[in-house]
Amino acid sequence: MDFEPSDDQRLLVESVTRMLSDNYSFAQRKGYMALPEGYSPAVWSQFAELGLLGLPFAEEYGGFGGSAQEVMLVMQAFGRVLVLEPYFPTVVLAGTAVNTAGSAAQKQAILPAIAEGSLKMAFAHSERQARYDLTDVVTTAKRNGSGWVLDGSKTVVSHGEAADKIVVSARTSGDRYDADGITLFLVDATASGVARRGYLSRDDTRAADISLSNVAVTEADVLGEVGKGLPIIQRVIEAGIAATAGETVGAMEAMNEMTLEYSKTRVQFGNPIGSYQVVQHRLADMFMAQEQGRSMAMLATMSVDNADDAERRHDFALAKVGVGQAGRYVSQSAVQMHGGIGMTEEYAVGHYFRRCMVIERLFGDPAYYLQRLANEIR
């Protein structure tokens, strides 16, 4: 066991942190939110220049051959400043889908384009009725000559509007809730029959509902095997859980630092509030939650490549619960310790609170995964 980042990983974190400290003050971020895209295309280009957009892809596809560890470290840095850009849906979700299941031709067509910053993607799996149930897919794909026709709708797709290409899950056989019969397709966002309705999510990023009406795709757009999409979706979601676990750790660090600083400067009853033991112990509890959460983020990261399905699923459930609960505790406490100012839109802490709240229910909340763990106990 060795928990220290390598020299290369340290350099990566340093360069990302430097770039973000130049470009991602809270005030700058507000400016990006006001842009038509809801994020900064200029920052996106800088991600490309730094190699972040190809981080987990093989070098032959223009990537850097990084692992889940590098992704975790970058997401941690992103979490510290609440990055708005569509890194997560493009590189982590869709990137993992293509990386895991794509043919050589699909990888060649997509991964280098992501890496150079010219292609943004989204991952459209969740449907309105499904809540957290991965097999609840009623969007259909029907054979049409040599291709397929997609019909249905997807909901709360992160950065669905920004995407040039969308990974869409659809049922090619079987019934709602069947594990078999789900297939992944690569769909052009501008294809005929694709309609996107965007809206703002609580975490200041944009999401979209996507409807598919008679959308024609070719055989070459099938990602992975027909009917065998679920295991791919699971791997995508696990990569997503690991990445957002890292992001949550970064957000917790930022909130704890902010709260500590505030406790040193906010004077009440003649003393900084940080001089009162009741506040100190709350800060100690927040620190402990952050560190336990960091341990769980590490568990998620080290589980991404675990080939043992049962063990991997178990460890991801543990990590998702642990990180979710830690993020919730730290963010609620951070607002509480700030008092009134923590309730305001103009102050940063509430934005971290909301990002943690969104991450917590991404791909299943702690109650969902706790239930899954409970079902393993016999």
């Binding site: 066991m1 928990f3 112990h281 800060l283 402990m288 341990s295 568990l299 106990i377």
Partner: protein, 401 residues
């Protein structure tokens, strides 16, 4: 970063597990599986078996009988030993006195005491707390006056665990009542418990056990060569010792073993016409503990791995306060679980009357033993620096407040 165990570490775990399985006396294991604490003779016998194997003096250097393990190996051993379940090494001997003598002791002290401490030929106890000096340890008053070639000790210690079993005591005393700072007038003495003038009085804990004591010192003569380190520098020794006490403090293996035992028990007890194990609320509670245990396990390995990297040179890791708080919260939660599973069978006291009354009844015995642990482990968040003191430590060390 490699967050997996190395093949060598996995092989080591297997070696430890096999050795414990093959050498732990069956009567000890059976009692402990039911949730009883080890008896004095269980602890002595097991420590001697481990010492013969070279595994008792965990973090001591090889020249004093240590196994030469990394901190990760040490942690693996401690976890396996707890999960067996086997008696723990006597911490007074192994994690407190041993490292103190190795760091501060004279050659004579080392030669005389270390081999006997490793083999548990001497049972040591810790004379630190006093009626007026608990969390505020530096306010201790027990006095030692130099008189020729010996000190004369007068005063009282309290909460002295296993003093009634002990052959020797390491003792904090005040040698300079006029020191400018309270911490500067304290010395660290080694005292033979058979010395005239020592009186040990039992304190019965809420679980009914005799674990704690009051120890009175009435003109007790302690030879000056039994002082460790410089006179009036005993606080440095105490700080070193308390820093050492942290490493295995989470006792995670114990929590794991207790949860496993509670799950076993939940298969046997009824809840609404079905085994309790099938109840979703119960399962979710166990699942939550699995989450908390996993987080603690990884945090624990982060601490010990950092210790290995720094070759133990750094100051005690403030993260070890996280281990203490989270570890003891879990220990307490797991014993609560046992008690709740046992239900009404948790209430009788397993003693002679009940043993005589019943046919052998594992459930009743385990329920009662579970309650004893539940009661006794309320102390876990009090001893070794209360959990509130741990948060003060974090406040200063990590937050800088």
């Amino acid at each position: 970063m490699d967050l997996r165990f190395t093949p060598e570490e996995l092989a080591f775990r297997e070696e430890v597990r096999t050795f414990i399985r093959e050498n732990l006396p069956a009567d000890t294991r059976d009692r402990m599986k039911l949730g009883h604490p080890p008896r004095k003779e269980d602890t002595i016998r097991w420590q001697r078996i481990l010492n013969a194997k070279g595994w008792a003096a965990l973090s001591w250097p090889k020249e004093w009988g240590g196994p030469g393990w990394t901190a990760i190996q040490k942690m693996i051993f401690l976890e396996e030993n707890l999960m067996a379940p086997a008696p723990e090494l006597l911490s007074f001997n192994i994690t407190m006195l041993g490292p103190v003598l190795i760091q501060f002791g004279t050659e004579v002290q080392k030669k005389r005491f270390l081999p006997r401490a490793a083999n548990l030929d001497d049972w040591w106890c810790q004379g630190f707390s006093e009626p007026g000096a608990g969390s505020d340890l530096a306010s201790l008053k027990t006095a030692a006056k130099l008189d020729g070639d010996h000190y004369v000790v007068n005063g009282q210690k309290i909460w002295t665990s296993t003093a009634h079993n002990a052959d020797w005591c390491f003792l904090l005393v005040r040698t300079d009542p006029n020191a400018r700072k309270r911490q500067e007038g304290i010395s660290f003495l080694l005292v033979d418990m058979k010395t005239p003038g020592i009186t040990v009085r039992p304190i019965i804990s809420i679980d009914g056990s005799h674990h704690l004591n009051e120890v009175f010192f009435d003109d007790v003569k302690v030879p000056v060569e039994m002082r460790v380190h410089t006179e009036n520098k005993g606080w440095d020794v105490a700080k070193f010792l308390l820093g050492n006490e942290r490493t295995g403090i989470a006792r995670l293996g114990k929590s794991r073993e207790r949860v496993n035992a509670a799950v076993e028990m939940a298969r046997e007890v009824n809840f609404g016409g079905k085994p309790l194990i099938q109840d979703q609320t119960f399962r979710q509670r166990v699942a939550q503990m699995q989450v908390d245990m996993k987080a603690l396990e990884i945090t624990q390995y982060r601490v010990v791995s950092a210790f290995d990297k720094s070759k133990g040179a750094g100051k005690p890791d403030p993260l070890s306060s996280v281990l203490k708080v989270k570890g003891t919260e879990l220990l307490q939660a797991t014993t609560e679980l046992t008690v709740d599973v046992a239900g009404p069978l948790a209430t009788p006291i397993w003693a002679q009357e009940l043993e005589a009354l019943n046919e052998p009844d594992d459930m009743m015995e385990a329920g009662s033993a579970g309650t004893a642990s539940y009661l006794m482990l309320r102390a876990a968040s009090i001893y070794g620096g209360t959990n509130e003191i741990q948060k003060n430590i974090l406040t200063k060390a990590v937050l800088g407040l």
